[in-house]
Symmetry: C2
Subunit: 225 residues, 2 copies
DNA sequence: TAGATTGTTAATCGATTAACAATC
DNA sequence: TAGATTGTTAATCGATTAACAATC
């Protein structure tokens, strides 16, 4: 496991998608698949699939392809999904509550154990059996429980201060829904979900299509010049 | 505008971040900024900033840098944020409701005008003044209203069928929260928010840190060999 | 003017794709 | 065995960074 070079984030970001497709194959009782077949399903090249997988090991067999169940379980291990994780939600607003209510997380071993907020109207409430605590209790909670990930769904202005504290108290990863970049030491991992940014890029693309269509018309007009 | 080569998605994905930083500068009454200064704030290279911006035009001035207000307004136009968009939510579950309740969207001109669901217990309800309709009414609604984007927060199994219908009825973009890939014609734009995938990559990174630490110890042990 | 900083070309780096020998 | 398909090296492609002449 050691002495290996770092895996590029392009590869890592594709792993959950492989995992999803292999899970679908499993559900359909497909026992083996070649990189070529999978590449057609996933709309990527077979070469990329083989390169990606070989970052972690030789999971296939010449002339046969990949055993679906084995490859699925290996990717599961690579992603660390064979463990259970302890998550807390910091910020009990719309998104925070929605994530607590999303029962699929628990099925996968992502267990939300507490929600924290400053709002007295929320504190003491229970969301799907999980209590909303005062943020003042957060330090004690984090220090006494092994919190793997904090889900940050709080206002921009507070995100960095809170995240720094959490990191100091032992939280290893920040799943950041706050619309701001976090400044964290290298050993604290951050994954951003910037919903507004995501929607903006979609709007760009929609407008781009319209512009393209306009230019096709325009070019046709000028064809005779 | 026409005859330009296509802008890479790496660039497009960075635009909302530029927009955010420029907005912050504006709020702090900073009127000009050089690519070098901005690069330090954003933790990217000045070269990349200049390359990115020059895909769309020369917004700066030699010896001066960029006028913050002007550049902000130009990126706003590039992203199409100077318009108002009509969105619908398809699937009135946790995430769907949370997005309806997120009032910041409206401030930016992303207006959610309707929610659709199959659940009789939700139909007729009102979320922040927006009614939840029966999906059976969706065709009529979409055909009579100019729907720019459908926010898909429905089960995997239904996402593709529903999205195909919506595309046929005139929806231009799909903001896809369903945990499945959509097969859409090229002129329909899709932006995925795969929350589970995002969390999985975070977990990978957390475990990677732990593995790295283990290997450092291991390497030290073996140093004498 | 002199200094600063852009816009843009050239160099580098990294990621994707192609090719093929190894081998099941 | 012959055919299929991997693992891996080499080639290509695209994105990032560096460099610098143009110019405000």
């Amino acid at each position: 496991m050691y002495n290996e070079r770092k895996i590029s984030s392009a590869v890592i970001n594709r792993l959950p998608r492989y995992y999803r497709y292999l899970g679908d194959l499993l559900e359909n009782d497909i026992t083996r698949i070649s990189s070529k077949e999978l590449s057609i399903k996933m709309n990527i090249t077979a070469s990329q699939i083989r390169q990606d997988l070989n970052n972690f090991g030789g999971f296939g067999q010449q002339g046969y392809g990949y055993n679906v169940e084995y490859l699925y379980s290996e990717i599961k291990k690579i992603l660390g999904l064979d463990k259970v994780y302890n998550l807390i939600v910091v910020g009990g607003g719309n998104i925070g509550q929605a994530l607590v209510n999303y029962t699929n997380f628990e099925k996968r071993g992502f267990v939300i154990t507490a929600v924290f907020d400053v709002n007295p109207r929320l504190i003491g409430m229970t969301i799907r059996g999980i209590e909303v605590h005062d943020v003042d209790c957060m330090e004690e909670f984090v220090k006494n429980n092994n919190v793997d990930v904090a889900i940050l769904t709080l206002p921009r202005s507070q995100a960095n201060t809170v995240a720094s504290n959490l990191a100091e108290w032992g939280v290893k990863g920040m799943w950041n829904f706050s619309h701001v970049d976090l400044n964290m030491p290298d050993d604290i991992k951050v994954e951003n979900v910037h919903l507004t940014d995501s929607l903006m890029t979609l709007l760009y693309k929609i407008n781009e299509v319209e512009t393209d269509e306009a230019s096709i018309i325009h070019n046709t007009d000028n064809n005779k010049e």
